[in-house]
């Protein structure tokens, strides 16, 4: 059966929030059905019963999108040097060490190159398990380098966002990464090199308010939370309940903010077609 062959890229459970594992079974957050993990894998982390999209790791994302799951990583040696010496309940540098141990990554992004449908594509994917995929100097630098690489090679760029926004522990240095990446995207735009932004659950704050909304195409997975301000902040500000479905992909599509909502199982084909339209 097909899913036995796909077994080389196991789904990494991201906390017990999203994937509750009891041995070989996972429970869907949405329909509460038990799913055999191999089934979940072969459906790319989408519930075969109800279509709920589980959060997946950055590397799992990349292996789903690239031909034969093969890709090369860039800038994986870049790390934060804790420029603010930030300490809240725990020192930031300790948090970074723990995250490195837990995910094998030095920050919340994997920048890669490989082929999609036989054509070279640079894809940056965020790691939700690394401080909520938040953006600090490292993510800003890695994405900017990916865009500059795309400019040199005239190669399309795809950024798969999954982030709570700018990382508080790097203060205003996180904030200005928004401007840095957006400036690089202005150059990519002038060079007419395609950039597709893929927004997944969740994409909020400074990530949405910069590159995630600047794609030639902005597409989202179904049911993803996407917004500038978080729902709790809005509720506290306006002191009323938010309407059903507020800030979900479908809401954004209806309000004209997205080109399309694409099921993860069709994402590869969708991207191949879109990039081919753009001449790549």
């Amino acid at each position: 059966m097909a899913w036995f062959k796909k077994g080389k890229t196991p789904i990494v459970p991201i906390g017990d929030r999203t994937v509750r594992t009891e041995g070989l079974w996972s429970k869907c957050e949405e329909c509460k059905q038990a799913i055999w993990k191999k089934d979940l894998e072969s459906s790319l982390g989408v519930c075969p019963q109800c279509g709920f999209h589980f959060r997946i790791s950055a590397r799992e994302r990349l292996s789903q999108l690239y031909d034969e799951g093969v890709f090369q990583e860039y800038d994986d040696h870049l790390a934060s040097n804790d420029p603010l010496n930030f300490v809240d309940k725990k020192p930031y540098h300790k948090r970074l060490q723990q995250m490195h141990a837990a995910t094998g990554l030095r920050d919340a992004l994997v920048s890669a190159e490989g082929k999609l449908n036989g054509k070279p594509v640079l894809i940056c994917a965020m790691e939700p398990a690394f401080i909520s995929g938040s953006m600090g100097s490292v993510m800003g630098e890695m994405i900017t380098r990916a865009i500059e690489r795309a400019l040199e090679r005239r190669c399309p760029v795809v950024i798969v966002s999954c982030s709570g926004g700018a990382r508080m522990q790097e203060g205003a240095l996180s904030l200005v990464q928004m401007a840095k990446i957006s400036a690089a995207l202005a150059r990519l735009d002038e060079a007419r090199i395609p950039y597709v932004s893929v927004l997944t659950d969740p994409t909020t704050g400074g990530v949405t308010a910069s590159f995630a909304m600047l794609g030639d195409l902005n597409i989202a997975e179904p049911g993803a939370l996407i917004g500038f301000a978080g729902p709790r902040v809005i509720e506290q500000t306006i002191r009323q309940k938010l309407p059903e479905g507020f800030q979900k992909s479908e809401f954004l599509l209806a309000h004209g903010m997205l080109d399309a909502i694409v099921d993860r199982r069709q994402l590869r084909d969708y991207l191949a077609n879109a990039l081919s339209f753009c001449g790549h």
Binding site: H77, L78, A79, S80, N81, P83, L84, F86, V87, D88, K89, R106, S137, V138, G140, E141, A166, R167, M168, Q169, E170, G171, A172, L173, S174, L175, V176, Q177, M178, A179, K180, S182, A183, A184, L185, A186, R187, D189, E190, G205, G206, T208, A209, S210, F211, M213, L214, G227, F228, A229, V233, I234, T237, I238, L242, P243, F246, Q247, H255, M257
Partner: protein, 324 residues
């Protein structure tokens, strides 16, 4: 100088009272000389006290109810300000003002957030928290400046972009994102000043330029100290710790190159002497514009790109050397 801040403040109060008393008397040579000495001592004391403020105290100063608002700075620095309204798409956002003006005789566009002064104005201006329309109006005016080769000045004093249902529906994120990309390539000089609160993406949305200036007691941060305390400390009362940890003061940000220049404020802060504060800013703006005006567009844009490109702090983990 006394090391105890309480004593310093008591001394300021005492001097202020004495100056007031003396000023009421019929002036003679004796009192005039004494008055002058006291005023000088008071200014020195105030400077001393204000230079030792904690980050959280600075945040409070940046939010001071008497602090000059952006339109005050526009009035005091620019001539012939003619407001231009609307984003041509949805409505006019009163939290963002902008228009044509003259800066030392030269035509320019000036744009900034408007918090309002009294309660009625604050409500009408939405406390200076712009909606997507505000950012889109700002961009429209900036493109107008570009079309007619006029420099752009932006003045920032906002707690942030408005978090509301309508703002989300109409694309708050998209509006800010678009400004970041477009401001990076506008073919005229852009000089940004943070005059009070530099609240996160809502500030950055008009904060991309060739020079970024910041008033001495302004702050600029990825999140408010209150928000940061609530999320990371899970305790709103930890605002002082959060304000310190975030490194949000002008001096801190100058160190990270996020700010090009700190604009000094008069002793006692901008609210104590708005005219003097505006005069200081005017000086800095004049100098900044003079340095940018002669540049060919390509050089200007390359400089702006590299200015932001170099921001951030990362290490190469394998070798441990700093690269940015």
């Amino acid at each position: 100088m006394d090391e105890n801040p309480e004593n310093e403040r008591a001394e300021v109060d005492r001097l202020e009272r004495q100056i007031e008393e003396l000023s009421k008397l019929v002036p003679n040579d004796n009192t005039a000389g004494e008055l002058e000495r006291m005023r000088r001592r008071l200014e020195r004391l105030r400077k001393e006290i204000y230079s030792k403020l904690t980050p959280w105290q600075r945040v409070q100063l940046a939010r001071h109810s008497q602090r000059p608002v952006v339109p005050d700075f526009i009035d005091l620095i620019f001539e012939d300000f003619t407001e231009l309204h609307g984003d041509r798409r949805f409505e006019d956002d009163p939290a963002m003002v902008g228009g044509m003006a003259r800066f030392h005789g030269e035509p320019c566009v000036v744009i900034g957030t408007h918090k309002g002064k009294d309660t009625k104005q604050k409500l009408q201006r939405n406390f200076g928290m712009p909606k997507p329309e505000g950012y889109r109006k700002a961009l429209r005016l900036m493109k107008l400046a570009e079309k007619f080769s006029r420099p752009i000045f932006t003045l920032i004093d906002t707690t942030g972009a408005y978090p509301g249902i309508g703002a989300e529906e109409r694309g708050q994120a998209e509006a800010i994102a678009c400004n970041l990309r477009e401001m990076a390539r506008l073919q005229v000089p852009i000089i940004v000043t943070i005059t009070g609160e530099g609240g996160s993406g809502g500030a950055l949305g008009i904060g991309v330029g060739d020079r970024v200036l910041m008033l001495e007691h302004a702050y600029y941060s990825v999140i408010s100290p209150e928000g940061c305390a609530a999320i990371l400390w899970k305790d709103q009362s930890q605002v002082e710790e959060a304000a310190t940890a975030l490194k949000l003061t002008a001096m801190d940000l100058r160190g990270f190159q996020i700010i090009d220049e700190v604009v000094p404020e008069p002793g006692g802060g901008a609210h104590a002497a708005p005219k003097a504060a505006a005069a200081q800013l005017d000086e800095c703006l004049k100098r900044s514009l003079a340095a940018l005006k002669g540049l060919p567009i390509r050089k200007l844009l390359e400089g702006r790109y590299q200015r932001f490109r170099s921001l951030g702090s990362v290490i190469e983990a394998a070798t441990g050397t700093n690269t940015a």
